[in-house]
């Protein structure tokens, strides 16, 4: 299974990718995750290639091959959507936009989420816009929005590992004492995606 995880530097793209990777390794699967580190992180566009299963040769996913993109930001879903399978790839994204600097300065305009959804639907109709920030607040902590997104992922695609392993991998990596709120966020994410099915 091939997944693209994208977002803005500082949003936790690398950590989310690692959580998925650990869950897969714990079940004896093979994994390759190509990440971006360094200067590209500081508020820039960030994405990881997550590959799980057999015949993993390249750490990079060939264009049009990924089964899903999980983006923590709407624009970053559109930026990398060509990596997923046209017509059948799954597009999950947090609807909360983060304005790039040129848009903040009024030099360029940030597209509306509605226009992004309309156009992404042309690429693949399997779209899951998730208001992850609001759901995270409902769970009890806005910082859990990525965990909401990982919950939504489990409900929108058949992952090659069990939800139990995924939960265990996530719990290992969240800050001590936040396990409960993160689990709530994960479950609410599952619920949100099921409601869109």
């Amino acid at each position: 299974m091939d997944l693209i995880i994208s977002g803005v530097g500082g949003q936790g793209v690398v950590l989310a990718s690692t959580m998925i990777g650990r869950a897969a390794v714990d079940e004896g699967l093979n994994v390759k995750i190509a990440e971006m580190h360094g200067l590209a992180q500081r508020g820039g566009s960030v994405m990881s290639h997550v590959r799980i299963g057999r015949n993993l040769f390249s750490p990079l996913i060939p264009s049009g091959q990924a089964h899903a993109i999980i983006s923590f930001e709407p624009l970053e879903a559109a930026r990398y959507v060509s990596f997923i399978q046209p017509s059948s790839g799954i597009i999950i994204f947090n609807t909360k936009g983060i304005l790039p600097m040129p848009a903040r300065l009024g030099m360029e305009s940030y597209p509306s989420v509605e226009s992004l959804i309309t156009i992404l639907r042309k690429y693949s109709p399997r779209i899951y816009p998730i208001d992850a920030d609001q759901i995270a607040i409902k769970a009890g902590n806005i910082h859990t929005s990525n965990i909401v997104m990982l919950g939504a992922l489990t409900a929108s695609i058949r992952l090659p590992f069990s939800i139990k392993s995924f939960r265990t991998a996530i719990m290992k990596d969240v800050p001590k004492g936040t396990e409960e709120v993160n689990m709530r966020a994960f479950n609410l994410g599952i619920e949100a995606a099921i409601n869109l099915n």
Binding site: T18, A34, H37, Q41, R42, L75, A78, P111
Partner: protein, 627 residues
């Protein structure tokens, strides 16, 4: 934690590891005793992870002041018989070139491995040079791992090879090894601990010309031996497919792209392949075996067509007829990093296999029209933003134009709008000497050099001495935030701790500046905008070379320290009634915490760290701290 895996003595266990960490693990499995580096993306996590387990693993690890120093320390350790390594990015090799090229003449004793991370695209570097040229130049072996498991395993081979040949060995990686996580099967942790002992031998270690003349033939002999060893290396793998007319050589990680492409095209049983890890010197017999069995050979290698050129001359020398294709022939793109897509495309063309390409290009074009750029920026509260604002205002105040030469660090983000504060950025330390160059050439505008603390210690000092010695009329601004921040927050001589976590003396740039002969030195906190503008304007007007140290702790470090002490930040807010919508705060500072909405500026209290710089810039006093 991933670093805990570095010392885990559980041979056979499967773990998920980042390539750079796998390299550190490989060094531990090989019994490394001294490891040095100057941080640089994409290499930083090698030593960055190793230093966290240094004591436990019994390894001496340091962040050195620059790569040359780092190399010389590792080199001397090797001469004293212990296994040692030095890691850096490709540009770091430019710095070590001098001692590195001579170390091949002296030879080494304990295995000496130089791990170099190239940046083909590049993602975070000022050029995309191919370090393999240096391996050829020095006449030493270079190994290029093809995946994460091999990144670990190749380190053990590299140390052994280094001791067999008595030559330094280079291990070359790219970001797709460095920053890829993959499954690694652990080997045993080495118990090798040698006592350092230097046996004097002036004919080897004192490289005066007469001694060098004796060592040159020795080096050539060892290099020939290296080529022989490459022939039998278990790291390479030739797979000849009977009847195949097409062959592919995949070098290092590129071999993965070749496999991916052949898998996608269903062409595995039609193509002979050579996986090449010993990329210098080449196993020519092995390559000839492939060349003589096919009509066409595609060479897939990262950055420059080095092996392609060598294979071409090999073909001609032996009178073989195989057609050679690759980056030199433009069958693969001449620039940028390779991807499975480009390798698949060229192989599809060579094999005349139709590509199953169902990508809806029109839709993609429509999407791309909507997607706007997202460039990285300085963090909210970054002191560099305040310093740049002050430099620009000071130049305005002096009113004679101005050129700002920049340097390497987070602060080169100052190029982006709205700051657009630097006019040059070339390499470590270039800011000061280039400012001098502009001034000496007769530029009449004020020339200001901007350099970070770590870069100043790395490469700024000789240029500053030169400025004093030769009367250059420049103002140097040292942005001292106490850390080497851009590469992931490594400590440096201004931080007060070493890589291994020991407390150490804090070196203050102003003390060195005075010792270099600068008389006009001022230290200022850039969060105090007015004072900073005044001090910089004064430095610009000074008739001799002058220095201003803008000192404020890196915001990320400051926030971490505050969190530990349970101190909360006090964000700022905009009084909407007072804000006249002039956008000066946004257009001058471009802080990611502020945004323009409905004709007024709004501050996101979640992102704002409370530096208060925007409040000082606001002409109507509309921005206030939340009490």
């Amino acid at each position: 934690m991933e670093v805990d895996l570095l010392t885990l003595d559980a041979p056979g266990q499967r773990v998920l590891m980042m390539g750079n960490v796998a390299i550190a693990r490989g060094a531990i499995e090989a019994g490394v005793q001294v490891a040095t580096s100057y941080p640089g993306t994409p290499s930083s996590e090698i030593i960055g992870s190793l230093c966290q387990v240094a004591r436990q693993a019994g390894v001496y690890v340091e962040w050195s002041t620059n790569e040359m120093v780092a190399f010389e320390i590792a080199f001397a350790a090797s001469l004293a018989g212990v296994r040692s390594m030095m890691a850096c990015k490709h540009l770091g090799v430019n710095w070590i070139a001098d001692p590195f090229l001579v170390s091949a003449y002296t030879g080494v004793n304990g295995g000496l491995v130089i791990v170099v991370a190239d940046d083909p695209h590049p993602y975070s570097s000022q050029n995309a040079e191919d370090t393999r040229y240096y391996a050829k130049l020095a006449k030493i072996p270079c190994l290029e791992p093809s995946d994460i498991q091999e990144a670990k395993d190749v380190m053990i081979v590299a140390f052994e090879l280094s001791e067999t040949l008595q030559l330094p060995v280079m291990v070359r990686i790219t970001p797709r090894i460095a920053h890829t996580r993959g499954v690694v099967v652990l080997g045993p942790v080495s118990r090798l601990r040698r006592k350092a002992r230097f046996e004097k031998d002036s004919t080897r270690y004192v490289m005066i010309a007469s001694n060098t003349r004796n060592r040159h033939p020795w080096l050539n002999k060892q290099y020939a031996k290296a080529a022989e060893l490459a022939e039998s290396s278990q790291l390479n793998r030739l797979e000849l497919v009977p009847g195949a007319t097409v062959g592919v050589i995949g070098c290092g990680l590129s071999y993965g792209y070749v496999q991916e492409a052949l898998h996608l095209l269903g062409a595995k049983n039609r193509v002979s392949t050579l996986k090449l890890v010993t990329v210098n010197p080449l196993p020519t017999h092995l390559i000839c075996e492939l060349l003589s069995s096919v009509n066409t050979v595609l060479i897939v290698e990262e950055i420059e067509p080095i092996i392609e050129t060598d294979v071409r001359s090999l073909t001609q020398g032996l009178g073989l007829n195989a057609e050679i294709m690759g980056r030199l022939t433009n069958d693969l793109p001449r620039e940028f990093e390779l991807t499975p897509d480009v390798v698949t495309m060229v192989l599809a063309k060579i094999l005349k296999t139709p590509l199953n390409n169902a990508t809806p290009n029109e839709v993609i074009n429509e999407i791309n029209d909507l997607v706007i750029r997202r460039t990285p920026f300085l963090c909210a509260g970054c002191p560099h933003r305040a310093s740049y604002y002050a430099i620009k205002q000071a130049l305005k105040k002096v009113n004679r134009g101005g050129i700002v030469t920049g340097d390497r660090g987070c602060y080169n983000q100052g190029i982006h709008p709205p700051l657009k504060a630097i006019d040059t950025c070339i390499c470590m330390g270039a800011s000061i000497a280039m400012a001098c160059g502009f001034s000496q050439a007769g530029i009449e505008e004020p020339v200001v050099a901007v350099i970070g603390d770590s870069t100043f210690f790395h490469a700024g000092i000789p240029a500053l001495i030169n400025a004093v010695y030769n009367h250059a009329k420049v103002a140097v601004i040292i942005l001292d935030n106490g850390w080497t921040a851009m590469t992931g927050h490594q400590p440096n001589p201004t931080t007060g701790i070493t890589a291994m976590g020991e407390l150490t003396k804090i070196l203050k740039p102003e003390d060195l500046v005075k010792a270099c002969g600068i008389d006009h030195v001022k230290v200022v906190d850039p969060y105090d905008i007015k004072a900073t503008i005044d001090v910089i304007a004064e430095a610009i007007n000074h008739p001799e070379p002058s220095v201003v140290v803008c000192r404020h702790l890196c915001t990320i470090q400051e926030l971490r320290a505050m969190k530990l002490k349970r101190i909360k930040t006090t964000p700022y807010t905009v009084n909407i009634d007072k804000c006249n919508g002039c956008k000066l705060c946004l257009s001058q500072l471009g802080c990611p915490a502020s945004v323009f909405e409905n004709g007024k500026v709004k501050i996101d209290t979640y992102t704002c760290v409370g530096c208060g710089v925007c409040a000082q810039v606001c002409p109507v006093g509309a921005i206030k701290g939340v009490s």
